[in-house]
Amino acid sequence: MVNTAAALFDPTAFQLPDILKTVKGPAVQSPPVQAEVRFVEQQLEREHTRPQPQANVTRNLTRQVQQQRELARSDQLKQILLQAKALRATDPSVPEYTQGLMQGIASLKACFADAAAPTDLETMNLWFPLLKCQELKWEALQAGTAVDVPTPEAKLLDKWRRLKGSLSAVEKATVYQLILGLNALIERRTLPHNIESSSSDPAVKTTPAQAADTIQTTVSEPFDPMTSGRQILQLRAKILRSCSEQEKQGLQTQLSRLLQQQSDYYALRREQSLGLHQSQYARLCQELKQALSAAQIQQMREQTVKQLAHLQRLFDQDKSHPGGPEIFVSASRQLARLGLSDAEQVLTQEQIQQSGWIQGFSAQAQASLKAWLASFQLLLNALKQSLEALNQRAKQAQADALADQIQAAHASFAKQSQALVYLEQAWQDADDPAEQSALRQKLLQAYAELILDLPTP
């Protein structure tokens, strides 16, 4: 890791593009130093004050300090990323959406403020203009004007990917994802009828009590499945190595709570995803009422299959219901058979199976799944009708084309018949044997062309 003096970085001397020169952005304070980081730093300070500090111990502790700082900042960045992800389930037109975006940018700035700034010039030279780009977006959001992603940002982000500086790979990757995520959210703000992408993560809360409410705009305590997954692993390991029954019980309680939170999280994500997909199906049904092209319908089917795969993955988290993912595999099969000759038979068969799998779920989950299934059936029906209409239109077009073809052939035949009549008359009227022979040849040629042009059975 590079560790040059970032103090050499002079923001006033930095050549910023004109668009970013006057940008100020939100006022933020540097984040408080976490207790764990402070503790290791003190340990290192003490090592330096020893009468004879051991070089290898000092080196080891310096690495520990760096690791603790990175860990703390990675966690902060991941929290901001989660907050941003939670915004994806919010209506972009509500003020909370804009506030959430502004908060995301401010938190990102705060992460690297003052003493927490990167410690090398190479990183600072990239981070400074990148931050200015975010501040520009923040100012536009505050002013309520149109927000554009500043032109230099793409190039800066590309360089950021390849940066070898003082930040850890996890920190860099999270900043990268966060900026891209914020841009996607800003773009979504300008597209009010945006269809959720198949990988969308709806906002979730951690307790079932909260789950009863409607989806909120921000999440006060976002639940990170990855962090909690790590915590669960650590707790299980602690239980395995613990020698005290009392401690084990305490850890078991923590573990149960975390597992419950995780279970609730996935249950809620399943619920919310089903809800989101239902509203999307309703929108697709509306769109299907208009005369759509085959390519548009095909695109819709592909998108729906992707969403079903997302639901399948989500239901795969719930190991207590092995039939969960099968419901969506079956739905994909139904979509695939739609429009084929055996469609009706397959659809009926798959629907019976789906009803059977649903029986294994709790009453609440059953209700959500049934509602989703009903909306999916409506979509299937709408798609079926559209496909039938499309099919009908195609058949009509084919018939019309054939009629045109026959009419053209008829016209051509009439024209050729007329020409034959004239030729025959001329041949009969000719007295000169040479002329008669030439006309005879022409007549035979015309007859041959007529026969060739006749439609084949």
């Binding site: 890791m1 996890v170 990757a173």
Partner: protein, 614 residues
């Protein structure tokens, strides 16, 4: 080795079976019984801790000497002071059946007594009350009435102690039972807790350490065993170990490497530095040389600095049953005599052995077992004139009938296989990053190596040397530590994780895969990372200025690495452990298996690897 204080002939005279029998016949008995709250199981750890009981009863420390014998247990001679008089005696090994009974016999060479037998019985009266009987049998030089009064006084003293201990109801915890009252040391404890603030953030851990050091009996405070302490104070043993390591760096404690004897489990050789260690140690109470294994009997403990509390390892009773809690039953049989004992033991597996015979018997206590076992002690432990089978099943309460056909006294013992030692082994310490960071010079002497029965490793390997290699190595370092492992950088492409538990190693591997998926968003070409896991025997040795590993488990790691270009590959033992099965149910990663080291597939792989690399 210190010279035995009396001549061998003198000792032999005292230990003569006829003399012992004569003393037993002449002995007068003084006994007293008392009902106390609690079950024998919870009272036993305290009531059998004669070492601390003697100290509490105001007795002086004992000096013990051992005389090695051609066969069997070494003889033990003890010297102490009583009321200003020197008292010396030959002590026969303690006899006991945990948690119901123990006794010891002493043949005096100096002092007012000729013979003394001290015994305690614990009889459950119901689920809540136990009848404790303390019995002293003695032969004295003093006039009978005077001796009886003095002995009665001793019995009373012990009964008061038993009553006080039972009233404390420490839930069977030996550690806190013999603490001095808190009020005596409160100011000192608080001062110590305060002064350690900068070194340990958790106040409960600081208090536990200060409380223990300043209140525990000196012999316990002399050797701080983090796992034992963690259990007594209901704390995380790993957090406590890390605190001890940091405090050691600040000269508050000192490291102590104890080589524990596999027979008596006692720390028979101790060193401050790993480089002072030898692969073979000697136990004078068992009179055996024993090998030191890094993960079996080499323990790290901590000794408080003398400025905090000056401590030395004084014994008040070296042969106490509490010093060998892994032995559930022990008995002495004089030559030519018979002994019948009721094995009132909980179901489980035990090993019946004696230092006199080379063979041992695994005794399975189970309801389906026999109700009697008749054994003869000859050159071997024999059943019906033939060497006894390796394994025997007996029911709880079965009769064990023994005859000693040898010419020397025989001490037989039943070791509980299920007994868990509260040690933190040297191998476990190696899996703590703080140890590597703070004590990088704690390595074995050059040329020295120690075996490990089983060690868990994780090797993170980037197959292609890329720009991201150092970033990946940094990530591996961080996540190995996050899962309580220690990271050893082997090269720019390889990081070795050393773990105390297979679960944590798998968790680290899993976590690394998850994070790698995130990081790959940053790279133009996705980085691959092979994560190889192995568990098995190996050897630790000094490699330059650091410890390193070699042997089967390391060989398996490198084989595993060659079998995969990406993903997690683990040796078969990981897939067999029920506690790890949850990992292999996770569908998101592909778990590859490395064939079993004993199978043909493994040998083939090994040959291929050797052809390729070695």
């Amino acid at each position: 080795m210190t010279d035995y204080p009396i001549s061998e002939i003198e000792a032999q005279t005292l230990r003569n079976p006829a003399y012992i029998e004569q003393m037993r016949k002449q002995a007068k008995t003084v006994e007293r019984s008392l009902d106390v709250p609690g079950k024998p199981e919870s009272l036993w750890p305290m009531i059998s801790a004669t070492d601390f009981l003697n100290q509490q009863a105001g007795m002086k420390t004992t000096n013990t000497f051992f005389l090695q014998q051609a066969s069997g247990s070494p003889w033990m001679h003890a010297q102490t002071k009583n009321a200003g008089l020197t008292v010396a005696y030959e002590e026969l090994p303690y006899e006991w059946l945990a948690p119901y009974h123990y006794q010891v016999e002493r043949l005096h060479s100096k002092g007012p007594l000729k013979y003394l037998s001290f015994g305690v019985d614990l009889k459950p009266l119901n689920a809540y009350i136990t009848l404790i009987t303390c019995r002293i049998r003695f032969v004295s030089y003093l006039p009978g009435a005077v001796a009886r009064v003095l002995v009665q006084k001793e019995v009373n003293k012990f009964m008061s102690l038993f009553q006080a201990l039972a009233m404390k109801q420490q839930g069977g915890q030996l550690l806190k039972a013999f603490y001095t009252p808190e009020s005596e040391n409160l100011t000192q404890i608080n001062a110590l807790v305060k002064s350690w603030e900068a070194f340990e953030p958790n106040p409960e851990i600081r208090f536990a350490l200060a409380d223990y050091i300043l209140r525990a009996p000196e012999r316990l405070a002399y050797r701080i065993r983090p796992r034992e302490l963690a259990e007594a104070y209901q704390l995380d043993s790993l957090a406590l170990l890390k605190a001890c390591l940091r405090l050691t760096r600040q000269q508050q404690f000192h490291l102590m490497w104890d080589c524990r004897c596999p027979g008596c489990k006692g720390p028979k050789e101790s060193f401050r530095h790993l480089s002072e260690l030898n692969a073979v140690a000697y136990c004078e109470s068992c009179a055996v040389n024993y090998g030191v294994a890094f993960d079996q009997n080499l323990e790290l403990s901590f000794q408080p600095d003398h400025q905090i509390r000056p401590v030395s390892e004084n014994y008040f009773c070296a042969g106490s049953p509490a010093n060998t809690p892994h032995i559930s039953w022990q008995a002495n049989i004089l030559p030519g005599l018979h002994l019948t004992s009721v094995l009132d033991l909980e179901p489980g597996y035990f090993v019946l052995r004696t230092l006199l015979c080379p063979n041992e018997i695994t005794v399975h206590i189970d309801s389906s077992g026999a109700n009697e076992l008749v054994l003869e002690i000859q050159d071997l432990l024999c059943l019906n004139g033939s060497p006894a089978p390796d394994s025997i099943c007996l029911q709880a309460g079965a009769l064990l009938k023994l005859t000693n056909n040898r010419s020397v006294c025989c001490t037989l013992m039943l070791e509980d296989i299920g007994w868990q030692s509260q040690t933190i082994s040297a191998a476990e310490v190696q899996s703590v990053q703080a140890f590597h960071d703070l004590f990088p010079d704690q390595v074995l002497a050059p040329g020295e190596s120690l075996p490990l029965q089983s060690q868990v490793f994780l090797l993170a390997y980037s197959p292609l040397e890329s720009d991201a290699a150092d970033e990946l190595q940094h990530l591996c370092h961080g996540l190995i530590q996050a899962h309580e492992g220690a990271a050893l950088v082997l090269s720019t492409m390889q990081t070795l994780g050393i773990f105390a538990s297979a679960y944590e190693a798998l968790a680290a591997a899993w976590d690394l895969r998850q994070e790698l998926a995130n990081l790959n968003l940053m790279y133009e070409h996705p980085e691959s990372l092979v994560l190889a896991l192995s568990q098995g025997p190996c050897e630790v040795y000094c490699d330059g200025e650091r410890l390193n590993y070699r042997g089967l488990a390391i060989e398996a790691l490198h084989l595993a690495r060659q079998q995969s270009q990406d993903g997690i590959i683990a040796s078969e033992s990981f897939f067999q452990a029920p506690s790890l099965s949850s990992f292999f149910e996770l569908a998101e990663a592909e778990w590859l298996r490395l064939p079993n080291p004993e199978g043909e597939d493994y040998l083939q792989l090994r040959e291929q690897a050797m052809a390729l690399e070695w």
